[in-house]
Symmetry: C2
């Protein structure tokens, strides 16, 4: 499929640019006029511009759905070919983190189904690719989800999201938070979802994700043998307006869905 080749070459090229911008940020000192957030914004927009141009050349009839600059509207016809881009996922980690946990994510969607996807971590050089029906790879090597079937032995990520949604997220995930063997929160969906695909973690749950946050990872996780649904176990359609996302190694999926059932609220007791 030529689309997966497009994804790979776009990610590697854009990655060179993002790596250079990230290095520029790291070299700054406080007297530098250009701040980390300016560099991030510039990089974010530039990756999207490059994607628009590359698609105009390779697939001029296809639509782009992306996070920035007016591309964040869903297709009128969800059956049509489109591409879903997150120029930089994990923007806070781009700006402040010891480990460069952020990535570029690009997916190709046809008939409402993600057919191919890629996630590239430009500083560490980790490249995840998957094509529907052909498996998922990490740096060219086939990957698969973990075999862990007991929640008490599992490593789960629950992204706690933004401050305004934090109470809802914790209420929804509280029983899962308390039951899992290990809990993580890395602040970057694409890196965590690729970790589920690679078997480094066993599930990832987020109350409010946009399609560009998980489109590419979805096919990577599924092709690695994992499962992806809404939080209530219903099918995950990119443009259905839903926002809760659960991806897992599939063995733990049902048990996690049960724990997430019912939106609860939390009361603190002295």
């Amino acid at each position: 499929m030529e689309e997966i080749k497009f994804i790979e070459s776009f990610l590697l090229e854009a990655g060179v640019y993002v790596r250079e911008m990230h290095g520029r940020k790291s070299d700054m000192d406080v007297s530098t006029k250009k701040y980390a957030s300016d560099i991030l914004t510039e990089a974010d927009l530039e990756v999207q511009r490059r994607c628009v141009l590359a698609l105009q050349q390779a697939f001029p009839d296809d639509q782009l759905v992306a996070e920035e600059e007016g591309y964040d509207t869903f297709p009128d016809d969800p059956e049509k070919r489109c591409w879903v881009l997150d120029p930089i996922d994990g923007t806070n980690n781009f700006m402040r983190a010891l480990f460069p946990m952020f990535g570029i994510s690009l997916a190709f969607v046809d008939k409402g189904i993600v057919q191919a996807g890629g996630v590239y971590l430009p500083v560490s050089g980790d490249l995840f690719l998957a094509e529907r029906g052909n498996g998922a790879t990490h740096n060219g090597k086939r990957i698969s989800v973990s075999e862990i079937s007991q929640l008490s032995a599992a490593k789960i990520e629950m992204d706690l999201g933004w401050t305004y949604e934090r109470e809802d997220s914790i209420a929804r995930g509280y029983r899962l938070l308390c039951a899992a063997g290990q809990m993580r929160c890395h602040g970057v969906a694409v890196v965590s979802l690729c970790q589920v695909a690679r078997g480094d973690m066993d599930a990832f749950f987020h109350n409010t994700l946009n399609p560009w946050d998980y489109a590419a990872s979805l096919v990577i996780v599924e092709e690695a043998g994992g499962m992806a649904t809404r939080l209530d176990n219903t099918p995950l359609h990119l443009f259905d307006g839903g926002s809760g996302v659960l991806m897992s190694n599939s063995k733990l999926h049902e048990e996690i869905v049960c724990l997430l059932e019912n939106t609860n609220s939390i009361e603190l007791k002295k």
Copy 2:
């Protein structure tokens, strides 16, 4: 001070060995008889054995307090010289993680005060060192904590700990969890504390840490301009039997202490 030189050379030497063991784990396939957890246990014990031997040569009268094999008892006389080692902190990340977020941690303590400490991340090669009164460094470059003073703009780590203590941790940290700008949970105290020292994060809170989990990081954070106390803002003495630890960029310390006040319990409401 010769102790900081000892710390640096021990960490670098032990790091070569741990990096090799971690690589051996990554090269394994499922048919390999030796499992990741065996390699981890072997590496953990071997680092401690090497530390015992190196101290016997360099500082034969000093005591070692460490996580493994009968060294986990506190000194009879807390005023005496001693060393505090965590051979590998972040053991789960050693076994399963895309990014090698684990570290070796060694501190030198005299008169109950951490006088020098070092944390080494053997795969990424990040070395953090600090000597009381002489500042803290990351790979030889002076570091300092962040300047962020508003919780809504802050990145906070709350380690959720083991399953059995998860409910207590969440109850204690709930108000902080809901108020912070960004939340993280990386599952490795030494890496997160060094991130606070380097200004990548603004505070770290854990309900139940042992002295070897934070002894070296304590002097690194303090020498980078940060603050380290118990959760109720009382002084943090390594061997006082307490377990809650809060380290921050100092500007946020008081506000966080207020949010952590009172041990609450949580009730779920439908």
